[in-house]
Structures are given as structure tokens and as C-alpha cells.
Amino acid sequence: MTDAMIGLIALPLAGALATLLLPRSATAVAIGTGLATTVAAGLLLSGVATQGALHYEIGGWSAGLGIALRADGLSALLLMMTALVALAASVYASAYFNTASERARFWPLWLLLWTALNALLLSGDLFNLYVTLELLGLSAVALASLSGRRAAVAAALRYLLVGLLGSMMFLAGVSLLYAGYGTLDLAALSHMVAPGPSAWTALALMTTGLLLKTALFPLHFWLPPAHASAPAPVSAVLSALVVKAAFYLVLRLWLDVFATVVTPAAANLLGLLGAGAVLWGSWHALQAERLKLLAAYSTVAQLGYLFLFFPLLLALPSGPARDLAAGGLVMLALTHGFAKAGLFLAIGVIQQRCGHDTIRQLDGTAQRLPATTFAIALAGVALIGLPPSGAFLGKWQLLAGAVEAGQWLWLVVTAVGSLLAAAYIFKVLGHAFGHRPYPNQPVTVAREEWPALLLAGMAALVLGLSGAPMWKLLELGI
């Protein structure tokens, strides 16, 4: 099973090299690599489910001297989501990019991004995390600017600079921790870290750096232009996975490594920023005139929900109520990953088939693509948090946690945010009901439409209806 961990890193990396060296068969190599990586993620997930948390010491050096890879329920689930989303987006990308030279430029960077995501989720070492963050950031920026258009390049540049600032803050925190505790191993640190100036400062620096990368309000300003101007498969992965990777690290730090250091007041601050993100992001999504911008602002809002959980997790005593809240958080994150990726892919189909993504002009155009419209609807259900999506269960736990902890503010924010989400999703869907001819085949362009549909279906149906095993798996995690 531990070999699956190496596979998750080595396979996409080797795939990146292969697609670079063999540009003619890059698509086939990339899809093959994607399938193999997904199998590795599946093996790891089943390994964690049966054997509990796994770890692997690279080079055979004990953790601390060397670097250890670690996988528990949380990381295994996120790795699985990464694999499924990236695989679906890969299939879509194979149809999205028309020319051989576009594909030749895309695939190596794409697989490097995938490598970075897997490496980040598996890493058990602070400095190694910094390197994976940089690999992730650079590959994401390179992909975001792929179209070469002015708006995309400008947004990518800003994305890069913000990301670098974030990385530097993270690294400053790492230095501080190394100065204080003499190790970079996360597991060792979680036993050693004690409240005090150096731990507080390190946590503050690392959190700030990561919040920049995960685009928590008000540090979100770079996200909408970058996500809205990237090619559709890239936007999907940026919104669904890349920001979530930084979020995952915040979660790890707060609930695991720094569990003894964090204070309810600090968590309340995160919660307040999250609330700001929910309201601000949803409001701007509602004002957006283009679909991609709507989706990007929705990402800002959806990340906000994840931060509403922090004050609850700190307020609730450890026990079933807290475990459920933590599970709800993960469920919400997973659902958003699938839903947002599906949404961006669907938008990509519309943009390519109809030549635009202006919401006002969608009347009838979405009609010609019923499967894609349906994918948007399913993704929308998940973004609003309606049943039977996984997000419904996630929000249920969020509300339950808020009631349990007596923190009513989060309850109000969640309610308002969900209604705003309904408003912006149905603003789009309202345009889909026009009196235009309806094609005879529900699915018109299979390779482009199925990935979005499957991802959205995953978010809206599968996670909600058969996500019960997830909770069991998470008991091994946080």
C-alpha cells in the first residue's frame, strides 16, 4: 500500500517527462498516466480504510533526518478527489485543445500540477511542503496563462506574485519552527509545539501565507481574474483542487500540528473572514455577467463556508458532535471540489460551442446542450447545498455545530449565503428555459459533455447518498 504513495508522485511526474519527450502521443500518455494515478489513489484509499494511517520514509531515513510521506483518511480522500477531478478534466482537455502544439504545451505542465497536488497532500515535512507549494504555484500559473491572452497573462502574473508572497510567509514560519524545535517533521512537531511566542508567530505567518493562496476574503482579490481567464480544464482544477490544497494545509496546521496552540479567538477571526467571504463572494457571483466569473466568485464564497467550521471545531469539546462537524467540513470541501470542477467544465463546453459565456445571452444556447445544462444544474444543487448533494450534509453539520456551540452568527451567514447561491445559480438556469428547438440526442458531444456531467453527478448525488463510509474513514484522520 505504501508503494501507492510513491506511485501517486512518481506516476504523474514520469508522465510529465514522457509527454514532454513524446509530444506526438502526449494525449494518450497523459490519459494513461491519469488512469494509473487514479488507480494508485484508489489503492491508497482502500489501504487507509483497512490499515489506518500510513507513512513512508523516503530513502529509508527516519522521519526528521529524511522526509516522510503520510496518508490518513483526510489526505486519502482528498487524493481520491484530486485523481477523479483531474482525470475527468484530462479527458475533457483532450477534446478542449485543438492543435498539437497546444496539447504539447499543456500536458507536461498539467501532469506537473497533478504531481504537485499529490506531493502536497502526502507530505509530512514542513520544508517539503514549501517546495510542493512552489511547484503547485508555478505549474498553476503557467497553466493559467496558457492562452497567452492579455487578461490571462496579467491575472497569472498577479497570481504568481501573490503566491510567492504567501510562500515566503510560509517559509518564514517554517524557519521559526525549525529555530525553536530543530525538526521539520510534522508528526514530531505536533508533539513538541507548545503555546508561546515562537509558535504563535509561526502559526500566524504560515496561516497568513496559506490564506493568500487559498484566497480567503479579503485576500481573495487575485482569484476571480485568474480563475476566470484560464482555459476551462485549468480553471476547473484551480478552483476545485489548487486552492483546496492550501486550505488542506491550514486545516492540518490548525487541527493537527498546532492543535495545542490555536485559540478560540483566533478561530473566530478565521470564522469572521469566512463569513465575509461567503457574503462578498456570493454577492459578486450574483452580479457577475460572465459564467466563468460567476463560478470564480462562487469559489471565494464556498471557501468561506469551510472557514466557518474553525470556530465551531474549537468551541466544541472533542466528542461525536465535533467529529461530525469535522466530517461535515470535509464533505463540504469534497462536494465543492467535484461540483466546481463540473461547473467549470460545463462552462467550457458552452464557451466553446456557443462562442461566449455571457449569462444574459445564454437563452437558447444552453438549450442546444441539454446534458451540459443539466450538469450546471446538478453542480448548482451542490453549490447551493440542496439535498441530495454532499454539501447538504456538510451544511447540516455546519448548522448543527453552530446550534450546538451556540454560535448563531454562522447559522445566519450560512442561511444567507445559501440563498444567495440559489439566486445566482437559478439566474443562470432561468435562461435555459426558452422556446428553442431541442435536439434529439441529449448528449451532443460526448467527450466534452460527459466529464462535467459525471463530476456534477458525483457532487450532487453520489457523495450525498453514499458518502456514509467517509465518516468512518475520517475517524482515522483529524
Binding site: P320, D323, L324, G327, M331, P370, F374, V381, I384, L386, P387, P388, F392, L393, W396, Q397, L399, A400, V403, E404, L411, A415, S418, L419, A422, A423, F426, L429, G430, F433, G434, H435, P437, Y438, N440, Q441, P442, G464, L465, G467, A468, W471
Partner: protein, 500 residues
């Protein structure tokens, strides 16, 4: 899982699966779509027949599926759910036939029938929900799948009406969700149990329970169109007639009313609700709605709008019955769930017939329509008289029990005037319509005659459904004492609720 566990799932699936298949059918495959629709509807009827027999003989039909720790999707058949399931199933069959005729050449039929089937699946799921969590899920699903039906025509008014509908119902859904979560935190999983489950909670919780009750009733009240949460209902009239028929008789409005019944009887327990002092408030809200709806109906010239306000008024009889402590009032409220459904669906079918056949949308255009469309107008008249409460139509039975229940519960002082006022108003807005239709001379031409009179006054698929439902409305009144009649079944429910 054995047969007993599968039956509730099958009842839901018998419309869900055909619905999903229909989405993928091309517009042209008319026969296959019709066959699937009817096969699903008939299969469901058979399954429900088994369910009725079994529940009467105290069989337990229950399916469970865990979604998350402590959150179970439970489908459970008890007497109350069977009543609602039966109503939905029968009226779905009739409405399907009607819709096939109504939409004969309209575009997007696969989409329409797909969502139509999903709508019934959600209603049936909501009826069979075994706990509040499951109820909320189907309640929200119902909102989702009815939105495309309301917006179906795609005109700006339709999209606008649908948006208003959505804003109200999702807002209500959010209140319901918050109430449910809160209750879940206080009391754990809230299964629907006859007599309620909350009375055992410590008294310290009572203030919270009152707020939760308010949240739940407000959430449900949006769908049940309790004043002042009724604003969406007249707007949603833009939907095609079969949709309006289903929305007003079974699906949406009734889901809200059914939910109120569930919360009062099977979550809080009617005695505990009364003990918390919440019953009177509910009754007053219902009474205001009854009178308000009737008054508003008086001023509508648009037939469907008048019927819509009539729905606002009539559905609150159910809430009123719930608020009357004692088995007789309960019977009145619950039996009205069925009676109002049958009568109101008849009215909407006939209104649709007038519009489809002769282009009549307004009451002022109905002069002499009884001569051109006698069967339709007869059906309309029976249902309208039933709404007023004229014996022997079903509506009389409901009002009789409500009045009797109020007397027994000592609430007659304010319930009786409400009932009388409402009946007078009902008469005031229905009788002139009947007079026009039967006794006025028709004008020189109908507004827009789409379907010429041939063997029947309109196409057969449009004619038979209202005739059948009108007959049912008459039969429910005439044979109220027969076994398995709605009244008898409501009596059974009331006895089980009060533990008699």
C-alpha cells in the same frame, strides 16, 4: 432487505425511474413516453393498493439508508402517509392522462414529463418520509423539480413566476432546515411517531421548542400558502394547467399542509403542542388565511387566479383542523387533505379545458359556456359546490367535521364564524361563475376556439380526467361511511394519533 423493506422504495421508484428514462427520450418518441408514464402510474397504483391493505392490517413497511452518522433516510408507511400517497398516486395517474392531451403538440415534452414524474416521486417520498430529516430532503427536492415545471413555457412571465416561486420556497426551506437541525441537536433523530416524541424533553427546552415550532411552521407555511407567506401562489399560475392542477391539489401546497400535520401530530404531539400554547396561534393563522384567501378570490376575474386564491383559503382548513384539539377536528382537517385535492384538481382541469378548447381565461368570458361544454361545466359545478360545502359533495363532510370538532373542543366561538364567513364567501365567488356558465347567453364567438366540438366537446384526454375526479368528489361525499373511504381512513388516523 425483504419485501416489506422494498415496498416503500418501489413506490417511490415506480415514478422516479420512468422519469429519469424519459429525460433521455427524443421528442418524437411519443408512444414510448406515454407507455412509460402510464405503466409507471399504474404500477404505482398497484403497489399502493398493497400498501393500503398492509398498513390497515398493521404491517410495518420501512426502508432505511444511512447518509451520515445519525442521519438516516427512512421511508416508512403509516396511516397518514398512506392517505397522502394514495391521493398522489390516483391524481398523478389522472393528471398524466390529462397532460398527455394538454401538451399534445407543445415543445419540450420529454423535459416536461421527466420533471413531472420526478415531482410525483418527491411528493410520494415526502409522504413516506419516516423522520423529519427525510421529510426535509424530499421537501427541498420537490422545490427543485417543480421549478422547471413552473418555468416550462419559457416566457419572461413564466421565468419570473418561477423565480418568485423559488425565492419563497427556498427561503421557507431554509427556515425548515434550520428548525429541523436545531430540533435534531436538542432531541436527536426526530422520527415520526404517532402521538409525538418531544413531550418527554425537560421543561428547560420549552422556550427553544416554541421557536423551533415557529421556524418549522413558517418553513412549511410557505408551501402551504399560509398568509402572509402565500405570495408565490398567484404568481405560479403561469405554469401549464396540469402543473397548476398538481401543484394546488397534491404536490406543493399539500406538501406544506401535510408537513404541518406531521409536525403537530407526529413530532410535537397534538397535546404537547397545545400544552406549549402553540395550537391556538396556528389556528388563528389558519383562520386569517381562510378568510383572506376567500376575500381575495372574490376580486379576481382571471379564472385561474380566482382558483389560486381559493386554494390559499381551502388548504388552511387542513391547518385549522390540525389546530382543533380532539379527534373530530383532526378527522375534519385530514379528510380535507384528500377532499380539497380531488375538488381543486377538478377545478383546474376544467379551467384548463376552457382555455385549451375555447381560449377562455377570464370569468367574464364564460357566459353560456355550459351549453358548449356541458360535461366540463358539470364537473366544474360539482367541484365548486363541494368547495362551498354543499352536501352531498365531499367538501361538506370536511366542513361538518371541522365544525363538530370545534364544538367538541370548545373552540366554536371563533371557529364557527370563520367557517360560516368562509362558506358564504366561497358561495359568493363560485355561484356567480356557475350562473354565468349555465344561464347567461353565450356571446357571438369564443375568444379563441382551438378544438372544435366533435364527438366530445373537447378532446377525450382532456375531458375524462375532470369527469373522473368530479365523480370521485361526489363519491367521497356520498359514500363517506364506506370502508376505505377517505373519511374512514382519516378516522383511523385520528384514532391512532389519539391512541383511541
Amino acid at each position: 432487505m425483504n419485501w416489506d423493506a422494498w415496498l416503500p422504495v418501489l413506490v417511490v421508484a415506480s415514478s422516479l425511474l420512468p422519469g429519469l428514462v424519459i429525460f433521455f427520450l427524443s421528442e418524437g418518441s411519443h408512444r414510448l413516453r406515454t407507455a412509460l408514464n402510464l405503466a409507471g402510474a399504474i404500477l404505482k397504483l398497484v403497489l399502493v393498493g398493497i400498501l393500503i391493505w398492509g398498513v390497515f392490517h398493521e404491517h410495518v413497511y420501512e426502508s432505511r439508508w444511512t447518509l451520515a452518522p445519525g442521519l438516516e433516510l427512512v421511508l416508512h408507511a403509516d396511516t397518514l402517509s398512506v392517505l397522502f400517497v394514495t391521493l398522489s398516486t390516483v391524481l398523478w395517474l389522472v393528471t398524466t392522462v390529462y397532460a398527455i392531451g394538454y401538451l399534445e403538440k407543445a415543445p419540450h415534452r420529454s423535459r416536461f414529463f421527466g420533471f413531472f414524474s420526478l415531482c410525483v416521486s418527491a411528493t410520494v417520498g415526502l409522504a413516506l418520509a419516516g423522520n423529519l430529516f427525510t421529510f426535509v430532503i424530499f421537501f427541498e427536492l420537490l422545490t427543485l423539480v417543480t421549478y422547471p415545471l413552473v418555468a416550462h413555457r419559457g416566457t419572461p412571465e413564466a421565468v419570473r413566476g418561477a423565480r418568485i416561486y423559488l425565492a419563497y420556497t427556498l427561503g421557507g426551506g431554509m427556515l425548515l432546515l434550520i428548525g429541523t437541525v436545531w430540533l435534531h441537536v436538542l432531541a436527536g433523530p426526530t422520527a415520526f411517531v404517532e402521538g409525538g416524541i418531544l413531550s418527554s424533553l425537560p421543561a428547560a427546552y420549552h422556550p427553544q421548542l416554541k421557536i423551533i415550532f415557529l421556524l418549522l411552521i413558517m418553513g412549511l407555511g410557505v408551501k402551504a400558502a399560509l398568509v402572509p407567506l402565500h405570495g408565490w401562489l398567484p404568481q405560479a399560475m403561469v405554469a401549464p394547467a396540469p402543473v397548476s392542477a398538481l401543484l394546488h391539489a397534491v404536490a406543493v401546497v399539500k406538501a406544506g399542509a401535510f408537513g404541518i400535520v406531521r409536525v403537530v401530530y407526529d413530532v410535537y404531539g397534538v397535546n404537547f403542542t397545545d400544552q406549549l400554547g402553540l395550537l391556538t396561534g396556528l389556528g388563528i393563522a389558519a383562520a386569517i388565511t381562510i378568510v383572506y384567501g376567500s376575500v381575495m378570490a372574490l376580486f379576481q376575474d382571471n379564472l385561474k387566479k380566482r382558483l389560486a386564491y381559493s386554494t390559499v383559503s381551502q388548504v388552511s382548513y387542513i391547518a385549522l383542523g390540525t389546530a382543533i384539539l380532539g379527534p373530530i377536528g383532526t378527522i375534519g382537517g385530514i379528510v380535507h387533505l384528500v377532499h380539497q385535492g380531488i375538488m381543486k384538481i377538478t377545478l383546474f382541469f376544467t379551467a384548463g379545458n376552457y382555455a385549451e378548447t375555447l381560449g377562455i381565461h377570464k370569468i367574464s368570458e364564460m357566459n353560456g359556456v355550459g351549453r358548449r361544454m356541458p360535461a366540463t361545466t358539470l364537473a366544474f359545478s360539482i367541484a365548486a359546490l363541494g368547495m362551498i360545502g354543499v352536501p352531498p359533495v365531499a367538501g361538506f363532510v370536511s366542513k361538518w367535521y371541522l365544525g363538530l370538532g370545534a364544538l367538541e373542543a370548545g373552540m366554536a366561538a371563533w371557529v364557527m364564524p370563520v367557517l360560516i364567513t368562509s362558506s358564504v364567501l366561497n358561495a359568493a365567488y363560485f355561484l356567480p361563475v356557475l350562473y354565468r356558465a349555465w344561464f347567461r347567453e353565450p356571446g357571438p364567438a369564443w375568444p379563441a376556439e382551438h378544438i372544435p366540438a366533435a364527438r366530445f366537446e373537447t378532446s377525450a384526454a382532456l375531458l375524462w380526467p375532470p369527469v373522473i375526479t368530479a365523480t370521485l368528489a361526489l363519491a367521497a361525499g356520498l359514500f363517506a361511511a364506506a370502508p376505505y373511504s377517505p373519511l374512514e381512513w382519516a378516522t383511523l388516523i385520528a384514532h391512532r394519533e389519539y391512541g383511541l
